[in-house]
Amino acid sequence: MILKSEHIATLLKEGDKIGEDDPLVISPQPDLEKLHASGSASVDLRLGTWFSSLRQARLSHLTMDEERLRPQLTKSHYVRYGSEYYLHPNSFVLGITLEWIRLPTTMAAYVIGKSSLGRRGLIIATATGVHPGYTGCITLELTNVGEIPIAIKPGMRICQLFFHQVWKSAKNVDCSQFIGRRKPELGNIKSDTIAQKLGDFPIGSDFHR
């Protein structure tokens, strides 16, 4: 079930109370009155100040089975409020939400782009899921699929978060490697034993005859 803005505003207000056991938090908090009155089913989030790009000149290619991506292959950028980051056509950069989010164990969320930005060629994320109990800022995958460069500014509304009620409350919190971060990170790709075995199978072996 997708939550409506009135419900989200109520949960955020309750979550703001000190000592709340399993709160929903968005910090900095959106204007709850406006959210309550908006009639929408999502909350807008803003763009943070940190970005991370790949050092293209040092990479021949990326493989998707690396357990640990070497940190020197990415470069961090800090863009202060009031400044701009220019995203050129076909380029890709990781951004991060300004807001720190915490989901209760009874809720999950999806990060969705904003249509007004998408129509200008800015794609925000590919259905990023946020799991119950997650806490931290949310990494965004920003791509310009248009034909002219796009200036993006920290603090601008960049995406929206749709909240879902989880059918059964989970006791465990999200164990994502991205939890508790304020900067975007590529993260590691988990080892996959099935893919590993399939990949190790010798081509042209007797099995194929």
Binding site: I18, S27, P28, T49, Y78, R80, W100, G180, R182
Partner: protein, 435 residues
């Protein structure tokens, strides 16, 4: 003959200007580094123009030599600043602390001016040595041209420059700025000098014979001769100088303590416990005495001292000194002890005249409770309260019981703290322009 050093000097400055040109291409996290760089660039260009105007046919060798020396001296004094500005752009730094720290700096250093009208500028950077460091530029600093007046440059240890738990140490560095701007050295020099004289007179009989020699020409009373005698004067001057420096450093500790409360004590222990390598620097009281003074001040200011705090520290050995220098430092150490209470009171008075508020226990507890839920506290009033809550959580081994928070506690706690500081900065920006 043309003077080759004139060309050499101009070439050196031009190469430095080229380097400034490269630095201008950096991604600056905030405008103050850029403004400082532009000022240095303008200054170096003015040096080149000045040397260009020196016609070897019209000026004597002495004049040309002197101008070159002055220009190179000025250049040398700004090279470390260029490096500092370069490091201020490194993404290892926690840029989130800039706005809240600028706010505190402005309230402290220009208490009579609205924080948004203040001209105080801040450059946060890092140093490749394990000690916070600062340059202060103010009219009282006569050694260098006044092109960076109003700038405060604070550097944290490089690989810890994103560790928010060390931020309270910037309070000590701000103390140096207050010391200079309020010209406290003048006030304390008078008091210390008198105390040194008094000490010498009282302990005259204990002095070595070679120091007690009184010149025959001195037609003064025996009492005056004791402190004006040519052999005693250097001892007196050195003792005054050491005691003054120790008093300055201690005053700066008290400013840091006043701003950050218990968190200052904790970050101080993080930096100094159990013991820094090497011998004691005579500019500071030894660690145990320094810590005891902090604990005494904390008692007066009403801040909680961590349990068994003093047992974390050890004294370092004094450097090996000549007998006469040993005498100076013995006098300085004794006289310094008499300055501690004055410095405690002075720091308290100065802070009370500003809008910088001491950390509030209730607010710290609220932030701590939010940290328990692994979220920032929305309505923070001060960076100091955030850092006290962060230290409280950091010191608690079982602060989070649930995975993966428990396993990655230190890293997540530091990220959370910096995000909370950023939110404080955003609130401060929204309240009024910070330029």
């Amino acid at each position: 003959m043309t003077y080759c050093y004139l060309k050499y000097s101009k070439d050196k400055i031009k190469l430095a200007l080229d380097e400034v040109g490269s630095l201008e291409q950096c991604e600056f996290p905030y405008s103050h580094s850029e403004i400082a760089l532009k000022k240095i660039k303008d200054f170096l260009e003015s040096l080149v123009c000045r040397l260009d105007d020196l016609d070897p046919q019209l000026n004597t060798k002495d004049i040309i030599q002197k101008e070159c020396k002055l220009a190179l001296k000025a250049l040398a004094s700004y090279i470390p600043i260029l490096g500092f500005i370069l490091r201020s752009t490194n993404v290892r730094n926690a840029f989130e602390i800039f706005i809240p720290l600028l706010n505190i700096s402005r309230k402290l250093l220009e208490p009579d001016i609205d924080v948004n009208q203040s001209t105080v500028k801040l450059i946060l950077s890092s140093e490749w040595k394990y000690s916070p460091h600062m340059f202060v530029f103010h009219q009282t600093q006569f050694q260098q041209p006044q092109i960076l007046d109003g700038f405060i440059l604070i550097g944290l240890p490089s690989y810890e420059s994103s560790n928010p738990l060390l931020i309270p140490l910037t309070g000590h560095e701000l103390g140096h700025a207050i010391w200079k701007i309020k010209k406290l050295e003048n006030d304390f020099r008078v008091i210390i000098s008198k105390a040194v004289e008094k000490h010498i007179k009282i302990h005259w009989d204990d002095f070595p014979d070679e120091i007690k020699k009184i010149p025959n020409t001195a037609k003064k009373t025996d009492r005056e001769s004791k402190t004006e005698n040519l052999f005693v004067l250097p001892t007196k001057e050195r003792a005054t100088s050491f005691a003054l420096k120790q008093t300055e450093e201690t005053f700066c500790d008290f400013i840091g303590l006043n701003i950050y409360g218990t968190a200052y004590l904790q970050s101080f222990a993080y930096l100094f416990a159990p013991k820094l390598p090497g011998r004691r620097s005579l500019k500071y009281p030894n660690e145990v005495k320094r810590t005891n003074n902090l604990v005494k001040a904390a008692g007066q200011y009403g801040f909680e001292v961590p349990v068994d705090y003093q047992s974390n520290f050890e004294d370092r050995k004094d450097p090996e000194l000549f007998k006469i220098d040993q005498l100076s430092i013995t006098i300085a150490d004794t006289v310094f002890d008499q300055m501690v209470q004055i410095a405690i009171d002075k720091a308290e008075t100065i802070l009370s005249e500003t809008e910088v508020q001491r950390p509030d226990d209730k607010a710290i507890q609220e932030i701590y409770e939010r940290f328990k839920s692994a979220v920032p506290f929305q309505n923070c009033n001060s960076i100091s309260e955030i850092l006290n809550a962060a230290w409280k959580a950091y010191e608690e081994p079982d602060f989070w019981s649930q995975e993966p928070l428990r396993e990655n506690k230190d890293k997540i706690l530091k990220e959370l703290t910096l995000k909370n500081i950023e939110i404080l900065g955003i609130n401060q920006i929204l309240q009024g322009p910070v330029s």
